[in-house]
Symmetry: C2
Subunit: 145 residues, 2 copies
DNA sequence: CCTTGAGTTGAACCTCGCTTCAACTTGCAG
DNA sequence: CTGCAAGTTGAAGCGAGGTTCAACTCAAGG
């Protein structure tokens, strides 16, 4: 089991284009050593990082947010399973939240089908957190983000 | 209850910027009549459309896809509750699928925490659909999209 | 009529997440 | 040593989803 991966190998293993890997490096999401001839050599643990990045992206998290999450991993030593577990636990919470939100969206949509609304005041879809505000009558769309 | 909304009113009610509403119109997502003085006047049912658009966006669906979904609504008459219900039912399926995918992601993440992987071969996160392919050893990230 | 706020347009600009390109240099097999 | 695939860089381009701007016009109150 050799130590370092070339960019081509990391790309093949991770399914991420080489150009994207270079891009991630510029953003500080992954790291690479260099050979005497200036070519990138990736430690195998970078595979984990890349996997994590793609997973997080799928959940709709920006690269910038992912970067700051990865920054919580120790830079001085190879992250242990526990390091990853801690990070992953935090993100499990995010996933739970996303799932909760989406389920609610679905249920609200169902409810709205039943009542024929999507235009009615006080509909939870229009007003998920019941924060109507006081500026005149009628509901407002209040969406997170 | 007056008939038509100005762009300012629709923006306030929907929480969507006026510039975004004009953008949506250019893309064919919403429609407006014009006054003699060329100002937009929105039918109240456009509120439904805008709500639908934002909800769909939150679920990660592109405006183009949303447009083609909305195209299925009758243009000749005001969409009824049934029209919306039909559309919403289709989208409920999409939501269910998204939720299913995300739940799986979460469970896989949990499993990977347990086994300390994220770097191991045959990990479901690396290889969600077991489509490893045959080009050499090691797992590949195979993500939908 | 005058003013002021609301609305109009097209064009330019922006961020994000990349990809493509040109013009090289490295690494390795034969 | 040759030859060729694989790697390097910075700059430019792209598509999505908008925002901002300048230079107007419209609508409504006093």
């Amino acid at each position: 089991m050799q130590e370092a991966l070339t960019i081509g190998q990391l790309s093949a293993r991770s399914g991420v284009a080489q150009s994207a890997l270079r891009y991630y490096e510029r953003l500080g999401l992954i790291r690479a050593e260099r050979t005497s001839g200036n070519q990138r050599r990736y430690h195998r643990t970078e595979l984990r990082r890349v996997a994590f990045i793609r997973i997080a992206q799928q959940v709709g998290i920006s690269l910038e947010e992912i970067r700051s999450a990865l920054d919580s991993l120790p830079a001085s030593r190879t992250p242990t399973a526990e390091d990853w577990a801690k990070l992953s636990t935090t993100w499990r919470a995010r996933l739970d939240e996303k799932i909760r939100l989406m389920s609610r969206l679905r249920d609200d949509l169902d409810a709205c089908i039943g009542c024929g609304c999507l235009s009615l005041r006080r509909c939870t879809l229009y007003n998920p957190e019941d924060n109507l505000g006081g500026e005149g009558p009628g509901a407002r769309l209040v969406l997170p983000g």
